[in-house]
């Protein structure tokens, strides 16, 4: 009995999960198959019928045949606070908060993160954030020094530019807690970055996010023409070569 019961809710779970992306589709289909799946539950008791029957049927009764890219989520960006899903719209002051779109008007755009190119904003003087809490005239100490980090894999090499960073940050934000200030002294890998270490302390949180569109911002130096992928030790030490 328990096997059968488990199998039933598992099927339901899977059906729901598969059906979710199709939920928003415009294409409406007859409700036949869903009703069949559903009735196998409802006959067990009223508990299931009580959990929002209409919602579940809406999930399951839409064909996913005409959904072009079913897992690619498109969502609007820069929503005003009352609609953004983390601000409470029952709070009066929420409506006094500034919508991001209003603040970002006139700043150079991108297609990721805040949809704002923060580096260009400063370079073009479209934005002049203070370097000091009270004195608007204090200038940052900008260090123009690029550090090239050769990448073992076939991705272009990484160029770390001090200039763009010291426009925003003090040396002590990175040195020595995140990076020892010596070329090549730090072990950096993509997995560490994705887990929120090294460059990932800021990138992927406040500075531009790490996604397909941004790889080239860091991986910006093409490999030399004669570059070949390194051979693994299994190949180089192969005694039967």
């Amino acid at each position: 009995m328990s096997y059968k019961a488990h199998a039933r809710w598992l099927t339901a779970l899977v059906t729901m999960l598969i059906a979710v992306p199709a939920w928003s589709s415009e294409v409406q289909q007859p409700a036949q198959p869903a009703a069949a799946v559903w009735s196998s539950f409802t006959d067990q008791g009223s508990v299931f019928a009580a959990i929002s029957e209409s919602e579940v049927i809406r999930l399951a009764d839409v064909s996913s045949a005409n959904v072009f890219n079913q897992n690619l989520k498109k969502h609007e960006s820069n929503l005003a606070p009352p609609e953004d899903g983390i601000h409470d719209s029952n709070n009066e002051a929420t409506f006094a908060l500034q919508p991001p779109k209003v603040a970002f008007k006139g700043l150079p755009e991108t297609t990721f993160g805040n949809q704002v190119d923060w580096v260009k904003s400063i370079d073009q003087k479209a934005l002049a954030p203070r370097w000091d809490r009270v004195n608007p005239d204090e200038e940052p100490f900008v260090l123009d020094m690029d550090i090239v980090r050769p990448v073992k894999a076939s991705m272009p090499d990484v160029v770390f530019p001090h200039r763009q960073h010291t426009e925003w940050l003090a040396c002590s934000n990175c040195h020595p807690a995140i990076f020892i200030p010596q070329k090549g002294a730090n072990q950096i890998s993509m997995s560490a970055i994705l887990l929120g270490e090294k460059c990932g302390v800021c990138h992927g949180k406040v500075s531009f996010p790490i996604e397909t569109k941004t790889c080239k911002k860091c991986h910006s130096k093409p490999k030399p023409d004669d570059w070949k992928p390194p051979l693994s030790s299994a190949t180089t030490n192969n005694p039967w070569k």
Partner: protein, 146 residues
């Protein structure tokens, strides 16, 4: 006996089905917030206040990171600074600016305490969160606060 077992099983599957449909419908909402918004909720919920939403984008239009993260000593860790109202009124953390001189002062509770009750401390839009924990679990309320 057998009947009991069946009931228990049914209850469990109902909970599962509910969780599945809840996450399915709750998620798209959460995903719309502005990149780099921080929800800070170490103490607020337990004290009956809405969680705090700190908008990075709004502040970086006015200040460089250095002002907060070097001069004012904010650590790079959501919820890691143990901010509370006593410290703010004393002029630390948010209170270094929200003092009626650089920015409006602390009596505007709702401007900072604007999050949906129950939202746990997190960094909105973070790559780590997307990869490892795509759904936010609400924190358990302490038993005596229910």
């Amino acid at each position: 006996m057998a009947l009991n077992a069946q009931r228990r099983n049914l209850g469990r599957s109902a909970v599962f089905a509910m969780m599945a449909s809840l996450t399915a419908f709750a998620l798209p909402q959460v995903a719309h917030a502005e990149y780099a918004d921080v929800v800070i909720n170490n103490y607020a919920d337990a004290a009956g206040m809405r969680p705090v939403v700190f908008p990075h984008w709004f502040h970086r239009v006015r200040f460089r990171c250095k002002v907060c993260h070097a001069d004012l000593g904010f650590q790079f860790k959501a919820g890691g600074n143990k901010i509370n109202m006593a410290k703010i009124i004393d002029g630390q953390f948010c209170g270094a600016c929200h003092n009626g001189e650089i920015a409006w002062s602390v009596e505007n509770c709702g401007m900072c305490h604007s999050g949906i009750p129950g939202t746990p401390t997190h960094f909105h839009g973070s790559t780590v969160q997307r990869l490892i924990a795509p759904t936010y679990k609400a924190l358990e309320k302490p038993a005596d606060k229910k």
